[in-house]
Amino acid sequence: MSMLAVEGLGITFGGVTALADVSFEVKPAEIFAIIGPNGAGKTTLFNVISGLYPPRQGRVRLNGEDVTGLPPDRLARRGLSRTFQNLQVFFRMTVAENIMVGRHLHERRNVLAHLFTLPSVLAQNRATRAKAENLLAFVDLSDLADRTAGSLPYGALRRLEIARALATEPKLLLLDEPAAGCNPVETEEIDNVIQKIAASGVAVVLVEHDMKLVMKISHRIHVLDRGRTIAQGSAADVRNNEQVIAAYLGRHGQREAARAQD
C-alpha cells in the first residue's frame, strides 16, 4: 500500500493555476523526487499535502485514508512531517529546543502537571532532551546544541529542520530544497542523511534543484512545469525526456544529471 497518494490535485491563486491534475503515489522507504523550474508549483504541492492550503480539486491519502483538508497538526499525528524552503526555524530558541518542540506529540501534555513541574515532567524533559541530542548527532549538529538557532549558518539550519522533522517520527517526510544554500560537503552529508531516513522505512518526497543529488538518490522522479505533470519515471527516463530538457534541465543540466549517476 502506498504511504502517500495524491489524486488529481489542483489549486489556483487569483486566476493563476499553481497546480492542475497532479497525481502520484509514494511507497514506504522510497525516495520520490519532484523537480521542475521555478514557480512550477513544487512548494505549493507540499503546502497542499501538509494541510496548509486546502486544494480546490483532488484528494490526498495517507496510508489509504482520505486526509484532504485536515489541518497540519492533525496530519502530524498521522505521521506527516516536512521542512521548509524558506526556513521556518524557531530562531529565538536553542538548537536543542527546536528539536525538542518536534517531540511535542510524543510528550504528555497535561498542563496542570506542567504548572507545578511534577517530577514526571522533569523526567520527561530529560528524555526529550536526550532524544534531541541523538538527532543532533545524526545530522552532525551536536556542537551547536545550546546555541540560539538564529545564530547558525544557513547549511546548519537546513539540517536542523530535517532533524526537527525527524523528531516527530514521521512515516512520510517532505523535504523542500534541503540542500539549497549548502556547500558541497554539507550537500554530501544531507545526501547520506536522506538515504538513511528512507532506509529506515520512511517515505521521502524530495524537492530539490541540485540535479546531481536528485539523480543520485531518487528512486523515482516526477517533473512539474507550470503546475502540470510533464514526466514521471526513473532518473534515466526523466533525464532523456525531451520535454523535461526543454522545460527545465537544458543540455547542461542533462550532462550534469548523467554524470551524477555514473
Binding site: S50, G51, L52, P71, P72, D73, A76, R77, S81, R82, F84, Q88, V89, F90, F91, R92, M93, E97, M100, V101, G102, R103, H104, L105, E107, R108, R109, V111, A113, H114, L115, F116, T117, V121, Q124, N125, T128, R164, A165, A167, T168
Partner: protein, 314 residues
C-alpha cells in the same frame, strides 16, 4: 551550574531572596507600601508575559480580568456573603472562564487585529463595571471588605507586602515551570513560526488559549489583592489606561523575561513617585524616560542589559 544560572529558576531564587530581605532595607511603611504595589503589578506582568513575551500574542484588555478579580472581592462578601478568600478564588476562576470563552474567537486574530479586539474586550469590561451600579457602585466604585485569614485581619502595608511578595515568588515559579515544560516550548514555537509549530503537531489555538487563560488568572488574583489592599475598587481600577500600563511594564522590562516584567512593574510604580520633584513636568519626564529606554535598550531593560553583559564578557 551554568545551565541553572541561565535557566528560569535562578531568577526565581534571586527574587525569593530579594523579597525576603527587602523589608530590612526599607526605612518606613511608606516604602513598604510601594513595594507591595510593585509586587501586585509585577504579578500581573509575570502572567501577561506568558501571553505576550512567550506566545507572542498581544492583549490590550487585561485590566478587564484585573477588574474581575477586584470586583469579585468587593461584590462577593458584600452582596453574596462569601468570605473574602473564597471570593478571591471565585474571581480568579471567573476570569479564567471568561478568558476561555472570549479567547476562542478572539485569538484567531493576529497582530494589530488582535490588539484592537482585546482593547474592545477591555472597554466592554470597563463599561459593565461603570454601568451596573446596583452591583458595582457605578462610577464611584464600592468599598472592599478586609480579608480575614485564620482569624487574623489582613491589613496594612507590612501584611500586604508579604502577601504580594510571596504570591509573586509563587507566580514567577509557576511561570518558570510552564516555560521549561512542553507547554512553554509550544508557546515559544508559536511565537517564532506558527506554521512550523502546526506542522510539528502543535494545536496552535489551544496553546494560545492556555496562555490567555493563565494570564487572565494572574491578573484577576492581582486585581483582588489591590482592591483588598486599597479597601476600594472603582472603574479606573480596571480602565483602559491600566491595560496599557500592564503592557508597558512588560515591554519596558523585557518581553520573554519573567524578571524583566518585575523590573518593568517596579519602574512604572516607582518613577511617578520619584518624578514628583518635576511637578508639572512629571509626565513629560516619564514619557522621555520610556522613549530613551526603548531606543537604547530595545529588547527591554533586563534582556538588553543581559545581552550587553554577555557581550562584554566574551
Amino acid at each position: 551550574m551554568r545551565r541553572f544560572l541561565e535557566g528560569p529558576y535562578a531568577g526565581v531564587l534571586a527574587l525569593a531572596i530579594l523579597v525576603a530581605v527587602l523589608p530590612l532595607a526599607l526605612p518606613s511603611l511608606f516604602y513598604l507600601r510601594i513595594a507591595a504595589l510593585i509586587g501586585i503589578f509585577a504579578l500581573v506582568v509575570v502572567g501577561l508575559n506568558l501571553l505576550i513575551g512567550y506566545a507572542g500574542q498581544v492583549s490590550l484588555g487585561h485590566a478587564g480580568f484585573f477588574g474581575v478579580g477586584a470586583y469579585a472581592v468587593a461584590i462577593g462578601p458584600t452582596y453574596l456573603g462569601l468570605p473574602a478568600w473564597l471570593a478571591l478564588i471565585a474571581g480568579a476562576a471567573i476570569a479564567g472562564l471568561i478568558a476561555f470563552l472570549v479567547g476562542r474567537p478572539i485569538l484567531r486574530l493576529r497582530g494589530h487585529y488582535l490588539a484592537v479586539a482585546t482593547l474592545g474586550m477591555g472597554l466592554l469590561f470597563a463599561m459593565v463595571f461603570a454601568n451596573e451600579s446596583a452591583w458595582t457602585g457605578g462610577p464611584d466604585g464600592m468599598p472592599v471588605p478586609h480579608l480575614d485569614l485564620f482569624g487574623f485581619r489582613m491589613s496594612g502595608a507590612r501584611t500586604w507586602y508579604w502577601i504580594s511578595g510571596v504570591s509573586l515568588v509563587i507566580g514567577a515559579w509557576v511561570a518558570a515551570n510552564v516555560i521549561a515544560s512542553p507547554t512553554g516550548r509550544a508557546l515559544r514555537a508559536i511565537h517564532d513560526s506558527e506554521t512550523a509549530a502546526q506542522v510539528l503537531g502543535i494545536d496552535v489555538a489551544r496553546y494560545k488559549l492556555i496562555a490567555f487563560v493563565l494570564s487572565a488568572v494572574y491578573a484577576a488574583v492581582a486585581g483582588a489583592y489591590l482592591a483588598m489592599f486599597d479597601g476600594l475598587v472603582t472603574p479606573e481600577t480596571a480602565g483602559f489606561l491600566r491595560s496599557i500600563e500592564f503592557v508597558t511594564m512588560a515591554v519596558l522590562g523585557g518581553l520573554g523575561s519573567t524578571f524583566g516584567g518585575i523590573v518593568g512593574a517596579a519602574l512604572l510604580v516607582l518613577l511617578p513617585q520619584v518624578l514628583t520633584v518635576f511637578q508639572d513636568y512629571e509626565h513629560i519626564a516619564l514619557g522621555l524616560i520610556m522613549i530613551v529606554v526603548m531606543i537604547f535598550l530595545p529588547a527591554g531593560i533586563v534582556p538588553s542589559l543581559a545581552g550587553l553583559l554577555r557581550w562584554r564578557r566574551s
